[in-house]
């Protein structure tokens, strides 16, 4: 089980950051290698994520569900799926939130969650997986900041 605990500041107002984080298409756009390939009637998103473990690329298809608490500017995202070859399953849950940041106009974003990888990949990626997730989280923060700065969407 890989834990995610990310805290980062975005130089945009909380409502602007929340506007991105509460829009599934925008959020997926901030995840490196991710895209939305479909949506079911209950609102579950069919997503595809290409993850690079070392030089090896693995494509995951995952069903993602987003729950939002507009008033508190908090949300839960849960995703589960398997890779395109079928040997590995992943399950992830994360809670995120936006609060006014340290600067006058900035925001602070927090993400806490877990990623579980089981099956054939688990031995292949060994300890490096947590570093891959960490790197993706960092890229997510950077893309989120860029998107907010550019004016959503």
């Amino acid at each position: 089980m890989i834990e995610i605990h990310e805290r980062f500041d975005v130089p945009s107002a909380p409502e602007e950051v929340w506007a991105v984080l509460s829009d599934p298409h925008a959020v997926v756009g901030c995840v490196p290698g991710a895209s939305i390939v479909g949506q079911s009637e209950d609102g579950t998103l069919d997503t595809s994520v290409v993850v690079k473990f070392g030089p090896t690329r693995v494509t995951f298809r995952a069903q993602a569900k987003l729950e939002l608490d507009e008033a508190a500017r908090q949300g839960n995202v849960s995703a589960q799926g398997k890779d395109s070859i079928g040997g590995t399953r992943m399950r992830s849950t994360a809670r995120f939130g936006v609060t006014p940041g340290p600067g006058a106009s900035g925001s602070a974003v927090s993400i806490d969650g877990t990623v579980e990888v089981s099956g054939r990949m688990a031995s292949l990626i060994e300890g490096g997986a947590s570093l891959v997730v960490k790197r993706m989280s960092g890229e997510f923060a950077q893309r989120l900041a860029e998107r907010c700065a550019a004016g959503h969407p």
Partner: protein, 552 residues
Amino acid sequence: MKVSDALASAFLKEGVTTVFGLMGNGNMYWWHALDQHPDVTIHETRHEGTALTMAEGWARATGEVGVCAVTQGPGLTQLATSLTVASRAKVPMVVFAGETALSDHDSVQKYNQQKFVDATEAGFVPIWKASEAEDAVRTAFYRARVESRPIVLNAPMDVQAEEYTGEIDEYEPSSTLLPGYQRILPDPDRLRDAVTLITESKRPVIVAGQGAQKAGAGDAIVKLADRVGALLATTLPMKGWLGDHEYHVGVSGLYATKTAIELFAEADVVIGVGASLNHYTTEHGYIFPNAKYVQIDLQPSIVMGNGKRADHYLRGDALLTVEAIEQQLADGGVTSNGFRTAEVRGMLAEYDPDPRDFEIDAGTVDPRRAASILDDALPSSVGVIHGTGHCSGITAFFMKKPRDLTWAINTFGCIGQAVPTAIGAAVARPGQAMAVVDGDAGTLMHASELDTAARLGVKLLIAVFNDEALGAEYQKFVSKKMDARASAIPTPDLGAVARAFGCRGQLCTTLDEVKAGVDEFMAGDGPMLLDIRVSRSVVSVPYSRLWFGEDV
């Protein structure tokens, strides 16, 4: 004539010329009888386990049945790891093992030897009575060849001491029972289906394993690859095989180069030849995300490392099957450039296995540069055996020269096997220089065999990549931000240790000293150890991927 003499006579009739062993009262009379024969040389070692491993190295280098001799009880149990390694490596061997007298129930060395042998995955042939002695030897050699694994011939001391009344001159060796290897062709329908898939392929890759070399399929594989524009790759144990081809991309698996992995991602058909395509070779299938598989092997069926069977499994001899595929493609006028483009050629020519910069610790060298120096300074006629451990992930990437013999010792994933394997292989190739590259822990595990190397006078270079640590564990600790000191063990000057044993030896803390050491080895005779102090700061490419998630 005693049974022990009859057993020795039967070993002679089996064609045995070379034995590795450690004497004890369970094998000494058999040993004495065999040693009287001028055509037999028995090499004494300092540990039973290393005797077994030397015999394994000798067997692999010669293609003959390797023979090892140990005494009963504790003599046999010293084989625990090395015998398991040889079983997993499927090397045909016969181990002569004494056993405490069947009538002696109180001996301190009494032991259930069959249970032990079963656990090592080797075969077991007991000698229960004197009259069975010759049949037992024949059965042991027969099974070693047919089952392609070590067989322990269990000889109780009281049975060995009995009189033998059989006609030893009439012994018929196991070779008379063997029909010989039969080269079989796959079902014609399956063959046609595979040819259809290969015909449609735009980006084929051929992965050759040990079965391909065994069948002598090298030239046929190159011919097929050239016809369809395939990349050539091997499994790790076959590292370097067919390596002088310009579209050879090296090993498939964790030890693949970054360029190879990027090209493999484009592959639409993988043709495995004499390779099980297990999870090491295919990274559980993830190294070939877009490929269908043709697999040629002799097993009845194989589940590959991705948990599936090949799209077209062809059960047959590697040489005949590859030739048949190539012939059908030729008959159909099929030729393709496949991967053979200027762009791919450029990628392969310009490739740097590891362009990263590391700060090198004081008093040590960059192990990558040391490996390159070894590779350049050792001619291609010098066989190179790679050990197991963190350093092997560096030497495997930086020692790229195609050689008459390249072995990567990784069976059972244990350290300590490489040096005794290399001594055995060097004995099998008299007059030819040999080199082994291993870590400090792996080398020190059986440092007493430096005595055997010196005594035998083999021209063997033992290049120790000494990071004064259990290198693999050290790097894992670092990746997890734990205190890595728990894995660090200081070593003495191993060059001085080697000299004390009668080898040549040198401590190397600069790259110039490494080069000078290799030159000195080549110029002289007998074994030589280079204690190359390497910087722990340099993390191998495989470990950088596995433990640090790096895209290298």
